[in-house]
Amino acid sequence: MKKITLLFFCLSVLATSCKKDDIIYDVNQVNATSYNANKNKLKTISQYISILYANLFQKALSANELVEITNCIESIGDKEVAHEIILSNFMNKSAVTMPSDSLMRTDVNAFIEQTYKRFYVRDLTEAEREFFLFFFASHPDVSVEMVYSAFSLSNEYQFY
Protein backbone atom coordinates (compact mmCIF):
# COMPACT_ATOMS: atom_id res chain seq x y z
CA MET A 1 0.00 0.00 0.00
CA LYS A 2 2.92 2.32 0.88
CA LYS A 3 4.51 1.58 -2.49
CA ILE A 4 1.33 2.48 -4.33
CA THR A 5 1.01 5.74 -2.36
CA LEU A 6 4.65 6.56 -3.11
CA LEU A 7 4.17 5.85 -6.82
CA PHE A 8 1.04 8.03 -6.93
CA PHE A 9 2.93 10.81 -5.18
CA CYS A 10 5.82 10.64 -7.65
CA LEU A 11 3.48 10.74 -10.63
CA SER A 12 1.67 13.73 -9.16
CA VAL A 13 4.94 15.58 -8.69
CA LEU A 14 5.94 14.82 -12.30
CA ALA A 15 2.61 15.94 -13.66
CA THR A 16 2.64 19.25 -11.85
CA SER A 17 6.34 20.00 -12.23
CA CYS A 18 7.30 23.33 -13.68
CA LYS A 19 7.27 24.00 -17.43
CA LYS A 20 10.01 26.07 -18.99
CA ASP A 21 8.73 29.25 -20.60
CA ASP A 22 9.49 29.98 -24.28
CA ILE A 23 12.39 32.35 -24.53
CA ILE A 24 11.26 35.78 -25.68
CA TYR A 25 14.03 38.07 -26.70
CA ASP A 26 13.72 41.78 -26.36
CA VAL A 27 12.23 42.36 -29.82
CA ASN A 28 8.68 42.40 -31.15
CA GLN A 29 7.39 39.07 -32.44
CA VAL A 30 6.46 39.02 -36.12
CA ASN A 31 4.24 36.45 -37.86
CA ALA A 32 5.99 35.89 -41.18
CA THR A 33 4.74 33.69 -44.00
CA SER A 34 7.56 31.31 -44.77
CA TYR A 35 9.81 31.54 -47.77
CA ASN A 36 7.91 30.17 -50.80
CA ALA A 37 5.15 29.36 -48.31
CA ASN A 38 5.37 25.60 -48.88
CA LYS A 39 3.83 25.86 -52.31
CA ASN A 40 4.01 22.48 -53.96
CA LYS A 41 0.80 22.12 -55.95
CA LEU A 42 0.61 23.27 -59.55
CA LYS A 43 -2.48 25.37 -60.23
CA THR A 44 -4.86 24.07 -62.86
CA ILE A 45 -5.54 26.40 -65.77
CA SER A 46 -8.87 27.36 -64.21
CA GLN A 47 -7.29 28.04 -60.82
CA TYR A 48 -4.54 30.12 -62.39
CA ILE A 49 -7.00 32.23 -64.37
CA SER A 50 -9.42 32.70 -61.47
CA ILE A 51 -6.65 33.81 -59.14
CA LEU A 52 -5.00 36.03 -61.74
CA TYR A 53 -8.29 37.72 -62.54
CA ALA A 54 -9.05 38.28 -58.86
CA ASN A 55 -5.55 39.69 -58.32
CA LEU A 56 -5.80 42.13 -61.19
CA PHE A 57 -9.45 43.14 -61.06
CA GLN A 58 -10.13 42.59 -57.34
CA LYS A 59 -13.32 40.70 -58.15
CA ALA A 60 -14.31 37.19 -59.21
CA LEU A 61 -14.33 35.99 -62.81
CA SER A 62 -17.70 34.79 -64.12
CA ALA A 63 -18.16 31.08 -64.71
CA ASN A 64 -18.72 31.55 -68.44
CA GLU A 65 -15.60 33.61 -68.90
CA LEU A 66 -13.62 31.11 -66.88
CA VAL A 67 -14.60 28.33 -69.31
CA GLU A 68 -13.89 30.51 -72.34
CA ILE A 69 -10.47 31.61 -71.14
CA THR A 70 -9.57 28.07 -70.09
CA ASN A 71 -10.44 26.92 -73.63
CA CYS A 72 -8.23 29.64 -75.07
CA ILE A 73 -5.27 28.58 -72.95
CA GLU A 74 -5.77 24.91 -73.81
CA SER A 75 -5.80 25.81 -77.50
CA ILE A 76 -2.21 27.06 -77.40
CA GLY A 77 0.47 24.52 -76.50
CA ASP A 78 3.13 26.84 -75.11
CA LYS A 79 1.46 27.90 -71.88
CA GLU A 80 3.88 30.77 -71.34
CA VAL A 81 2.78 32.24 -74.66
CA ALA A 82 -0.90 31.57 -73.89
CA HIS A 83 -0.66 33.18 -70.46
CA GLU A 84 1.16 36.20 -71.89
CA ILE A 85 -1.55 36.77 -74.48
CA ILE A 86 -4.37 36.37 -71.95
CA LEU A 87 -2.59 38.65 -69.50
CA SER A 88 -1.96 41.38 -72.04
CA ASN A 89 -5.67 41.23 -72.94
CA PHE A 90 -6.47 41.74 -69.27
CA MET A 91 -4.03 44.64 -69.13
CA ASN A 92 -5.88 46.27 -72.02
CA LYS A 93 -9.00 46.55 -69.88
CA SER A 94 -9.59 49.69 -67.88
CA ALA A 95 -10.91 47.85 -64.81
CA VAL A 96 -7.48 46.50 -63.82
CA THR A 97 -6.78 47.66 -60.30
CA MET A 98 -3.18 48.71 -59.77
CA PRO A 99 -1.33 51.63 -58.27
CA SER A 100 0.00 54.38 -60.48
CA ASP A 101 3.63 54.36 -61.58
CA SER A 102 4.28 57.56 -59.61
CA LEU A 103 2.86 56.01 -56.45
CA MET A 104 5.12 53.00 -56.97
CA ARG A 105 8.16 55.25 -57.28
CA THR A 106 7.18 57.19 -54.16
CA ASP A 107 7.73 54.19 -51.92
CA VAL A 108 9.35 51.36 -53.82
CA ASN A 109 9.97 49.35 -50.66
CA ALA A 110 6.30 49.28 -49.74
CA PHE A 111 5.28 48.55 -53.33
CA ILE A 112 7.55 45.50 -53.53
CA GLU A 113 6.32 44.18 -50.20
CA GLN A 114 2.70 44.60 -51.26
CA THR A 115 3.33 43.01 -54.64
CA TYR A 116 4.89 39.92 -53.04
CA LYS A 117 1.90 39.67 -50.71
CA ARG A 118 -0.58 40.24 -53.52
CA PHE A 119 0.81 37.68 -55.95
CA TYR A 120 2.87 35.25 -53.89
CA VAL A 121 1.02 35.51 -50.57
CA ARG A 122 4.32 35.65 -48.72
CA ASP A 123 6.94 38.05 -47.48
CA LEU A 124 9.94 38.79 -49.60
CA THR A 125 13.46 37.91 -48.57
CA GLU A 126 16.14 40.53 -48.15
CA ALA A 127 17.87 39.24 -51.28
CA GLU A 128 14.67 39.75 -53.26
CA ARG A 129 14.24 43.23 -51.79
CA GLU A 130 17.80 44.13 -52.78
CA PHE A 131 17.27 42.89 -56.32
CA PHE A 132 14.15 44.96 -56.88
CA LEU A 133 15.51 48.09 -55.25
CA PHE A 134 18.54 47.89 -57.51
CA PHE A 135 16.39 47.00 -60.53
CA PHE A 136 14.05 49.95 -60.07
CA ALA A 137 17.00 52.26 -59.59
CA SER A 138 18.67 51.06 -62.77
CA HIS A 139 15.44 50.89 -64.82
CA PRO A 140 13.61 54.16 -64.30
CA ASP A 141 10.99 53.36 -66.94
CA VAL A 142 9.73 50.16 -65.38
CA SER A 143 5.97 50.41 -64.90
CA VAL A 144 3.59 48.76 -62.47
CA GLU A 145 2.11 46.86 -65.40
CA MET A 146 5.51 45.35 -66.21
CA VAL A 147 6.06 44.33 -62.58
CA TYR A 148 2.59 42.81 -62.28
CA SER A 149 3.08 41.01 -65.60
CA ALA A 150 6.41 39.57 -64.46
CA PHE A 151 4.85 38.26 -61.25
CA SER A 152 1.77 36.93 -63.06
CA LEU A 153 3.89 35.03 -65.57
CA SER A 154 6.46 33.75 -63.10
CA ASN A 155 6.71 30.09 -62.22
CA GLU A 156 6.10 30.56 -58.50
CA TYR A 157 2.73 32.08 -59.37
CA GLN A 158 1.80 28.79 -61.06
CA PHE A 159 1.99 27.01 -57.71
CA TYR A 160 0.03 27.22 -54.50
Binding site: N36, K39, N40, L42, E65, E68, I69, N71, C72, E74, S75, I76, G77, D78, K79, E80, V81, E84, I85, I86, S88, N89, M91, N92, E128, F131, F132, F135, H139, D141, V142, M146, V147, S149, A150, F151, L153, S154, N155, E156, Q158, F159
Partner: protein, 443 residues
Amino acid sequence: MKRRNFLKNTALGAAAITAPFILPSGRLFAATGSRMADHVVFVAFAGGVRQQESILQRYLDDSQDYPSAGNIMYNMFDGAPPTDKIVYGTDGIISGDTPIPKLLSQTLQQQGTLFKEVNASTVGHYAGVNTLLTGNYLYSQGLRMKPSMPTIFEYLRRHQGVKATKTWFIGNGIGNSLPLLDYSLHPDYGSQFGANFLAPTITFGDDGEKHLKNAKIYHPEDELDPMYKMKYFLDNVWYSQGKPLPNIGNTEEEKAEIKQFVKDMFEKKENGTIVHPPVGGNRDGQTIGYACEVLKRFRPTFSVVYLSSVDACHSDFSGYLKSLHATDHAVGHLWDYIQNNIPEMANNTTLIVSPEHGRNLESNNIVDANAFTGFDHSDANSRRIFNMVIGPGVDSNLTIGNENNQIGDIVNITPTIAEILGFKNEMMGAGLTASNNSLFDLI
Protein backbone atom coordinates in the same frame (compact mmCIF):
# COMPACT_ATOMS: atom_id res chain seq x y z
CA MET B 1 11.95 1.24 -106.64
CA LYS B 2 12.48 4.97 -106.47
CA ARG B 3 13.21 4.83 -102.78
CA ARG B 4 15.80 2.09 -103.16
CA ASN B 5 17.58 4.06 -105.88
CA PHE B 6 17.41 7.11 -103.70
CA LEU B 7 18.90 5.30 -100.74
CA LYS B 8 21.59 3.69 -102.88
CA ASN B 9 22.59 6.96 -104.49
CA THR B 10 22.76 8.86 -101.24
CA ALA B 11 24.20 6.27 -98.87
CA LEU B 12 27.87 6.70 -99.83
CA GLY B 13 27.75 10.46 -100.00
CA ALA B 14 25.90 10.74 -96.73
CA ALA B 15 28.34 8.45 -94.96
CA ALA B 16 31.30 10.39 -96.29
CA ILE B 17 30.18 13.92 -95.66
CA THR B 18 27.81 13.65 -92.73
CA ALA B 19 28.15 17.07 -91.19
CA PRO B 20 28.21 17.26 -87.41
CA PHE B 21 26.29 20.03 -85.68
CA ILE B 22 25.59 21.14 -82.16
CA LEU B 23 22.26 20.34 -80.54
CA PRO B 24 20.62 22.90 -78.21
CA SER B 25 21.86 20.73 -75.34
CA GLY B 26 25.43 21.40 -76.50
CA ARG B 27 26.02 17.77 -77.52
CA LEU B 28 27.90 17.21 -80.73
CA PHE B 29 25.59 15.43 -83.09
CA ALA B 30 26.03 13.91 -86.49
CA ALA B 31 22.98 13.01 -88.51
CA THR B 32 23.16 9.40 -89.59
CA GLY B 33 20.37 9.30 -92.15
CA SER B 34 19.67 11.05 -95.41
CA ARG B 35 16.47 12.92 -95.74
CA MET B 36 14.01 12.08 -98.46
CA ALA B 37 12.36 15.47 -97.91
CA ASP B 38 12.97 18.41 -95.59
CA HIS B 39 9.33 18.67 -94.53
CA VAL B 40 6.66 16.18 -93.55
CA VAL B 41 2.99 17.05 -93.16
CA PHE B 42 1.03 14.27 -91.51
CA VAL B 43 -2.74 14.55 -91.86
CA ALA B 44 -4.48 12.43 -89.27
CA PHE B 45 -7.71 11.98 -91.24
CA ALA B 46 -9.19 11.11 -87.92
CA GLY B 47 -12.54 10.74 -86.26
CA GLY B 48 -13.00 7.16 -87.42
CA VAL B 49 -13.22 6.48 -91.17
CA ARG B 50 -14.83 3.33 -92.55
CA GLN B 51 -12.97 1.65 -95.37
CA GLN B 52 -16.33 1.07 -97.07
CA GLU B 53 -17.10 4.76 -97.70
CA SER B 54 -13.51 5.86 -98.25
CA ILE B 55 -11.01 3.71 -100.10
CA LEU B 56 -13.53 0.99 -101.06
CA GLN B 57 -15.86 3.62 -102.58
CA ARG B 58 -19.13 1.89 -101.74
CA TYR B 59 -20.98 5.02 -100.66
CA LEU B 60 -24.47 3.86 -99.56
CA ASP B 61 -24.14 0.37 -100.99
CA ASP B 62 -22.35 -1.16 -98.05
CA SER B 63 -23.92 0.79 -95.23
CA GLN B 64 -27.57 1.62 -95.89
CA ASP B 65 -28.61 -1.22 -98.20
CA TYR B 66 -29.11 1.33 -100.96
CA PRO B 67 -27.58 0.42 -104.35
CA SER B 68 -25.47 3.47 -104.94
CA ALA B 69 -21.67 3.13 -104.97
CA GLY B 70 -18.95 5.59 -105.91
CA ASN B 71 -16.02 7.71 -104.79
CA ILE B 72 -16.81 10.74 -102.65
CA MET B 73 -13.13 11.47 -101.91
CA TYR B 74 -11.99 12.19 -105.46
CA ASN B 75 -9.04 14.44 -104.58
CA MET B 76 -7.43 11.59 -102.71
CA PHE B 77 -8.54 8.48 -104.59
CA ASP B 78 -9.10 7.47 -108.19
CA GLY B 79 -12.67 6.54 -109.02
CA ALA B 80 -15.90 7.98 -110.34
CA PRO B 81 -18.34 9.63 -107.93
CA PRO B 82 -21.79 8.20 -107.17
CA THR B 83 -24.61 9.15 -109.48
CA ASP B 84 -27.61 8.34 -107.34
CA LYS B 85 -28.89 9.75 -104.04
CA ILE B 86 -26.38 12.57 -103.67
CA VAL B 87 -26.31 13.75 -100.06
CA TYR B 88 -22.58 14.20 -99.46
CA GLY B 89 -22.06 17.66 -100.99
CA THR B 90 -22.84 21.16 -99.86
CA ASP B 91 -26.40 22.28 -99.47
CA GLY B 92 -28.15 23.37 -102.68
CA ILE B 93 -31.87 22.88 -103.22
CA ILE B 94 -31.80 20.10 -100.69
CA SER B 95 -29.21 19.20 -98.05
CA GLY B 96 -25.97 17.84 -99.48
CA ASP B 97 -27.08 17.74 -103.12
CA THR B 98 -24.14 19.75 -104.54
CA PRO B 99 -20.81 17.91 -104.72
CA ILE B 100 -17.69 20.07 -104.32
CA PRO B 101 -15.79 20.36 -107.62
CA LYS B 102 -12.58 18.34 -107.81
CA LEU B 103 -9.58 20.46 -106.83
CA LEU B 104 -6.51 18.45 -107.82
CA SER B 105 -5.83 17.63 -111.44
CA GLN B 106 -4.06 14.49 -110.30
CA THR B 107 -5.32 12.52 -107.30
CA LEU B 108 -3.06 11.97 -104.32
CA GLN B 109 -3.30 8.26 -105.08
CA GLN B 110 -1.73 8.89 -108.48
CA GLN B 111 0.96 11.08 -106.94
CA GLY B 112 2.01 8.66 -104.23
CA THR B 113 1.84 5.21 -102.67
CA LEU B 114 -1.43 3.92 -101.25
CA PHE B 115 -1.55 1.20 -98.61
CA LYS B 116 -5.07 0.03 -99.17
CA GLU B 117 -5.62 -2.21 -96.16
CA VAL B 118 -3.73 -1.45 -92.95
CA ASN B 119 -4.24 -2.66 -89.38
CA ALA B 120 -5.06 -0.23 -86.58
CA SER B 121 -5.55 -2.04 -83.30
CA THR B 122 -6.68 0.87 -81.12
CA VAL B 123 -10.23 1.99 -81.83
CA GLY B 124 -10.60 5.01 -79.55
CA HIS B 125 -9.81 8.52 -80.79
CA TYR B 126 -7.25 9.48 -78.16
CA ALA B 127 -5.67 6.04 -78.12
CA GLY B 128 -5.60 5.99 -81.92
CA VAL B 129 -3.88 9.35 -82.29
CA ASN B 130 -1.57 8.41 -79.43
CA THR B 131 -0.57 5.35 -81.47
CA LEU B 132 -0.16 7.44 -84.61
CA LEU B 133 2.23 9.78 -82.81
CA THR B 134 4.18 7.35 -80.63
CA GLY B 135 4.31 4.21 -82.77
CA ASN B 136 3.06 2.21 -79.81
CA TYR B 137 -0.18 0.59 -78.80
CA LEU B 138 -0.61 2.13 -75.38
CA TYR B 139 -3.57 0.02 -74.29
CA SER B 140 -3.23 0.91 -70.62
CA GLN B 141 -2.92 4.65 -71.29
CA GLY B 142 -5.58 6.72 -69.54
CA LEU B 143 -7.54 9.29 -71.49
CA ARG B 144 -6.40 12.22 -69.39
CA MET B 145 -2.72 11.27 -69.31
CA LYS B 146 0.15 12.40 -71.44
CA PRO B 147 1.70 9.60 -73.51
CA SER B 148 4.09 7.38 -71.60
CA MET B 149 6.15 6.74 -74.76
CA PRO B 150 7.92 9.49 -76.72
CA THR B 151 6.04 11.18 -79.52
CA ILE B 152 7.46 11.57 -82.98
CA PHE B 153 7.90 15.29 -82.22
CA GLU B 154 10.29 14.45 -79.40
CA TYR B 155 12.35 12.01 -81.47
CA LEU B 156 12.74 14.63 -84.17
CA ARG B 157 13.67 17.48 -81.87
CA ARG B 158 15.98 15.46 -79.67
CA HIS B 159 17.85 13.62 -82.40
CA GLN B 160 17.97 16.37 -85.00
CA GLY B 161 18.10 19.49 -82.84
CA VAL B 162 15.02 20.94 -84.50
CA LYS B 163 13.60 24.17 -83.03
CA ALA B 164 10.22 24.19 -81.32
CA THR B 165 8.56 26.30 -84.01
CA LYS B 166 9.65 23.77 -86.60
CA THR B 167 7.29 21.17 -85.12
CA TRP B 168 3.55 21.84 -84.99
CA PHE B 169 0.57 19.85 -83.86
CA ILE B 170 -2.56 21.49 -85.22
CA GLY B 171 -5.82 20.06 -83.90
CA ASN B 172 -9.39 20.83 -84.86
CA GLY B 173 -10.35 21.23 -81.20
CA ILE B 174 -9.31 20.53 -77.65
CA GLY B 175 -11.58 17.55 -76.96
CA ASN B 176 -10.51 13.95 -76.39
CA SER B 177 -7.42 15.14 -74.46
CA LEU B 178 -5.85 16.10 -77.79
CA PRO B 179 -3.67 18.89 -76.37
CA LEU B 180 -1.93 16.32 -74.16
CA LEU B 181 -0.30 14.71 -77.19
CA ASP B 182 2.27 17.46 -77.81
CA TYR B 183 4.89 15.60 -75.77
CA SER B 184 5.25 12.56 -73.54
CA LEU B 185 6.24 11.91 -69.96
CA HIS B 186 9.09 9.64 -70.98
CA PRO B 187 12.15 10.48 -68.84
CA ASP B 188 14.55 10.46 -71.81
CA TYR B 189 12.43 12.84 -73.86
CA GLY B 190 9.62 15.08 -72.54
CA SER B 191 8.43 18.65 -72.78
CA GLN B 192 11.68 20.25 -73.88
CA PHE B 193 11.33 18.30 -77.15
CA GLY B 194 7.58 18.86 -77.57
CA ALA B 195 5.62 20.39 -80.43
CA ASN B 196 3.77 23.67 -80.58
CA PHE B 197 0.12 22.72 -80.25
CA LEU B 198 -2.57 24.92 -81.75
CA ALA B 199 -6.33 24.43 -81.97
CA PRO B 200 -7.12 27.30 -84.32
CA THR B 201 -10.89 26.90 -84.27
CA ILE B 202 -10.71 27.77 -80.57
CA THR B 203 -7.83 30.24 -80.65
CA PHE B 204 -9.39 32.21 -83.50
CA GLY B 205 -13.00 31.25 -82.77
CA ASP B 206 -15.52 33.02 -80.54
CA ASP B 207 -13.58 32.42 -77.33
CA GLY B 208 -10.35 33.70 -78.88
CA GLU B 209 -12.09 36.76 -80.33
CA LYS B 210 -13.20 37.61 -76.83
CA HIS B 211 -10.07 36.86 -74.83
CA LEU B 212 -7.06 36.72 -77.16
CA LYS B 213 -7.69 39.18 -79.95
CA ASN B 214 -6.91 42.38 -78.07
CA ALA B 215 -3.51 41.28 -76.88
CA LYS B 216 -0.91 44.01 -76.64
CA ILE B 217 2.29 43.53 -78.53
CA TYR B 218 4.82 44.96 -76.10
CA HIS B 219 7.93 46.75 -77.29
CA PRO B 220 10.72 44.16 -77.26
CA GLU B 221 13.43 46.33 -75.72
CA ASP B 222 11.55 48.95 -73.73
CA GLU B 223 8.84 46.75 -72.24
CA LEU B 224 9.46 43.04 -72.75
CA ASP B 225 13.14 43.07 -71.85
CA PRO B 226 12.76 44.52 -68.32
CA MET B 227 9.62 42.42 -67.80
CA TYR B 228 11.46 39.23 -68.70
CA LYS B 229 14.46 40.23 -66.57
CA MET B 230 12.21 40.46 -63.53
CA LYS B 231 10.48 37.22 -64.44
CA TYR B 232 13.81 35.41 -64.86
CA PHE B 233 14.92 36.61 -61.46
CA LEU B 234 11.69 35.38 -59.88
CA ASP B 235 11.98 32.07 -61.77
CA ASN B 236 15.59 31.56 -60.73
CA VAL B 237 14.61 31.97 -57.09
CA TRP B 238 11.87 29.43 -57.68
CA TYR B 239 14.16 27.00 -59.55
CA SER B 240 16.44 27.00 -56.53
CA GLN B 241 13.58 25.20 -54.79
CA GLY B 242 13.68 22.49 -57.45
CA LYS B 243 10.23 23.04 -58.86
CA PRO B 244 10.58 23.54 -62.60
CA LEU B 245 7.62 23.80 -64.96
CA PRO B 246 7.28 21.84 -68.21
CA ASN B 247 8.40 23.98 -71.11
CA ILE B 248 8.52 23.11 -74.78
CA GLY B 249 11.53 25.31 -75.32
CA ASN B 250 10.40 28.10 -77.61
CA THR B 251 13.09 30.79 -77.51
CA GLU B 252 12.07 34.38 -76.79
CA GLU B 253 12.28 35.06 -80.53
CA GLU B 254 10.06 32.08 -81.27
CA LYS B 255 7.54 33.15 -78.65
CA ALA B 256 7.45 36.64 -80.13
CA GLU B 257 6.91 35.09 -83.56
CA ILE B 258 3.99 33.01 -82.28
CA LYS B 259 2.39 36.02 -80.59
CA GLN B 260 2.76 38.03 -83.79
CA PHE B 261 1.27 35.12 -85.74
CA VAL B 262 -1.77 35.06 -83.44
CA LYS B 263 -2.23 38.80 -83.87
CA ASP B 264 -1.85 38.56 -87.63
CA MET B 265 -4.38 35.74 -87.87
CA PHE B 266 -7.04 37.84 -86.16
CA GLU B 267 -6.38 40.58 -88.69
CA LYS B 268 -6.49 38.16 -91.60
CA LYS B 269 -9.68 36.66 -90.26
CA GLU B 270 -11.25 40.10 -90.05
CA ASN B 271 -10.16 40.82 -93.61
CA GLY B 272 -11.39 37.42 -94.82
CA THR B 273 -7.96 36.44 -96.12
CA ILE B 274 -7.24 33.23 -94.20
CA VAL B 275 -6.37 30.66 -96.84
CA HIS B 276 -9.28 28.34 -96.19
CA PRO B 277 -10.25 25.71 -98.76
CA PRO B 278 -12.25 27.23 -101.62
CA VAL B 279 -15.52 25.50 -100.73
CA GLY B 280 -17.16 24.60 -97.44
CA GLY B 281 -16.34 25.73 -94.01
CA ASN B 282 -16.65 22.78 -91.67
CA ARG B 283 -14.39 22.51 -88.66
CA ASP B 284 -11.82 20.42 -90.55
CA GLY B 285 -11.77 22.91 -93.42
CA GLN B 286 -11.22 25.77 -90.99
CA THR B 287 -8.40 23.83 -89.35
CA ILE B 288 -6.76 23.16 -92.71
CA GLY B 289 -6.97 26.87 -93.58
CA TYR B 290 -5.10 27.83 -90.43
CA ALA B 291 -2.71 24.91 -90.93
CA CYS B 292 -1.81 26.42 -94.31
CA GLU B 293 -1.10 29.71 -92.52
CA VAL B 294 1.14 27.95 -89.99
CA LEU B 295 3.03 26.19 -92.79
CA LYS B 296 3.44 29.42 -94.72
CA ARG B 297 4.70 31.33 -91.66
CA PHE B 298 6.89 28.76 -89.92
CA ARG B 299 7.74 26.26 -92.70
CA PRO B 300 7.88 23.43 -90.15
CA THR B 301 10.09 20.42 -90.55
CA PHE B 302 7.24 18.32 -89.24
CA SER B 303 3.61 19.11 -88.65
CA VAL B 304 0.59 17.06 -87.74
CA VAL B 305 -2.88 18.20 -88.74
CA TYR B 306 -5.60 16.44 -86.79
CA LEU B 307 -9.12 16.35 -88.27
CA SER B 308 -12.16 14.67 -86.78
CA SER B 309 -15.41 16.03 -88.18
CA VAL B 310 -16.26 12.57 -89.52
CA ASP B 311 -16.91 11.48 -85.96
CA ALA B 312 -20.48 12.68 -86.55
CA CYS B 313 -20.98 9.16 -87.91
CA HIS B 314 -22.17 7.95 -84.49
CA SER B 315 -25.48 9.68 -85.01
CA ASP B 316 -25.46 11.45 -88.38
CA PHE B 317 -24.37 9.27 -91.27
CA SER B 318 -25.24 11.97 -93.81
CA GLY B 319 -23.07 14.43 -91.89
CA TYR B 320 -20.29 11.85 -91.91
CA LEU B 321 -20.48 11.56 -95.70
CA LYS B 322 -20.42 15.34 -96.03
CA SER B 323 -17.40 15.53 -93.75
CA LEU B 324 -15.51 12.84 -95.71
CA HIS B 325 -16.17 14.77 -98.89
CA ALA B 326 -15.37 18.22 -97.48
CA THR B 327 -12.24 17.02 -95.71
CA ASP B 328 -11.01 15.33 -98.89
CA HIS B 329 -11.41 18.74 -100.54
CA ALA B 330 -9.55 20.37 -97.63
CA VAL B 331 -6.64 17.90 -97.85
CA GLY B 332 -6.45 18.52 -101.60
CA HIS B 333 -6.32 22.25 -100.85
CA LEU B 334 -3.54 21.74 -98.30
CA TRP B 335 -1.38 19.84 -100.79
CA ASP B 336 -2.14 22.32 -103.55
CA TYR B 337 -1.29 25.24 -101.26
CA ILE B 338 2.04 23.71 -100.24
CA GLN B 339 3.03 23.10 -103.84
CA ASN B 340 1.94 26.49 -105.20
CA ASN B 341 2.25 28.98 -102.36
CA ILE B 342 5.13 27.90 -100.13
CA PRO B 343 8.23 27.80 -102.34
CA GLU B 344 10.46 26.45 -99.53
CA MET B 345 8.20 23.44 -99.12
CA ALA B 346 7.12 22.81 -102.73
CA ASN B 347 8.60 19.58 -104.10
CA ASN B 348 10.38 19.17 -100.77
CA THR B 349 7.47 17.98 -98.63
CA THR B 350 6.06 14.54 -97.97
CA LEU B 351 2.37 14.23 -97.17
CA ILE B 352 1.16 11.29 -95.10
CA VAL B 353 -2.55 10.62 -94.66
CA SER B 354 -3.98 8.11 -92.21
CA PRO B 355 -7.15 7.66 -90.17
CA GLU B 356 -6.58 6.77 -86.52
CA HIS B 357 -9.04 3.88 -86.82
CA GLY B 358 -12.06 2.73 -88.78
CA ARG B 359 -15.68 2.19 -87.82
CA ASN B 360 -17.98 -0.77 -87.28
CA LEU B 361 -19.30 -3.14 -89.90
CA GLU B 362 -22.79 -3.11 -88.45
CA SER B 363 -24.68 0.08 -87.78
CA ASN B 364 -26.17 1.25 -84.52
CA ASN B 365 -29.84 2.19 -84.18
CA ILE B 366 -29.47 5.96 -84.47
CA VAL B 367 -31.20 7.28 -87.57
CA ASP B 368 -30.48 10.66 -89.20
CA ALA B 369 -32.61 13.01 -91.32
CA ASN B 370 -32.14 10.79 -94.41
CA ALA B 371 -33.12 7.70 -92.41
CA PHE B 372 -29.50 6.51 -92.56
CA THR B 373 -28.18 4.63 -89.55
CA GLY B 374 -24.94 5.59 -87.79
CA PHE B 375 -21.81 3.59 -87.03
CA ASP B 376 -19.74 3.42 -83.85
CA HIS B 377 -16.19 2.08 -83.54
CA SER B 378 -15.58 -1.09 -81.57
CA ASP B 379 -15.56 -4.19 -83.80
CA ALA B 380 -13.00 -5.79 -86.15
CA ASN B 381 -14.00 -3.50 -89.03
CA SER B 382 -12.87 -0.58 -86.84
CA ARG B 383 -9.35 -1.93 -87.02
CA ARG B 384 -9.15 -1.43 -90.79
CA ILE B 385 -7.65 1.77 -92.23
CA PHE B 386 -5.77 3.03 -95.29
CA ASN B 387 -2.44 4.90 -95.40
CA MET B 388 -1.10 7.15 -98.11
CA VAL B 389 2.38 8.64 -98.64
CA ILE B 390 3.13 11.27 -101.30
CA GLY B 391 6.40 13.13 -101.80
CA PRO B 392 9.97 13.15 -103.12
CA GLY B 393 11.45 9.66 -103.47
CA VAL B 394 8.10 7.96 -102.91
CA ASP B 395 6.72 5.77 -105.67
CA SER B 396 3.82 7.34 -107.49
CA ASN B 397 0.66 5.54 -108.53
CA LEU B 398 1.56 2.49 -106.47
CA THR B 399 -1.04 0.54 -104.51
CA ILE B 400 0.03 -1.93 -101.85
CA GLY B 401 -2.31 -4.55 -100.39
CA ASN B 402 -6.03 -5.01 -100.84
CA GLU B 403 -9.13 -6.02 -98.93
CA ASN B 404 -7.95 -9.62 -98.78
CA ASN B 405 -4.29 -8.87 -98.22
CA GLN B 406 -3.61 -6.57 -95.30
CA ILE B 407 -0.16 -4.96 -95.52
CA GLY B 408 0.96 -2.44 -92.94
CA ASP B 409 0.11 -1.39 -89.45
CA ILE B 410 -0.59 1.98 -87.91
CA VAL B 411 2.62 1.61 -85.85
CA ASN B 412 4.62 1.70 -89.10
CA ILE B 413 3.85 5.38 -89.53
CA THR B 414 6.28 6.87 -87.00
CA PRO B 415 9.22 4.89 -88.45
CA THR B 416 8.11 6.13 -91.88
CA ILE B 417 8.26 9.76 -90.76
CA ALA B 418 11.63 9.12 -89.11
CA GLU B 419 12.96 7.55 -92.30
CA ILE B 420 11.80 10.46 -94.46
CA LEU B 421 13.40 13.00 -92.13
CA GLY B 422 16.58 10.98 -91.64
CA PHE B 423 16.51 9.91 -87.99
CA LYS B 424 15.15 6.39 -88.22
CA ASN B 425 18.36 4.84 -86.86
CA GLU B 426 18.31 7.07 -83.80
CA MET B 427 14.64 6.35 -83.21
CA MET B 428 15.11 2.61 -83.56
CA GLY B 429 18.18 2.86 -81.34
CA ALA B 430 16.00 4.17 -78.54
CA GLY B 431 14.09 0.88 -78.73
CA LEU B 432 10.79 2.43 -77.70
CA THR B 433 8.58 1.77 -80.72
CA ALA B 434 6.43 -1.27 -81.42
CA SER B 435 7.85 -1.77 -84.91
CA ASN B 436 11.17 -1.09 -86.58
CA ASN B 437 9.56 -1.17 -90.02
CA SER B 438 8.51 1.86 -91.95
CA LEU B 439 5.81 1.56 -94.58
CA PHE B 440 8.60 1.64 -97.16
CA ASP B 441 10.05 -1.53 -95.64
CA LEU B 442 6.82 -3.32 -96.49
CA ILE B 443 6.89 -2.54 -100.20
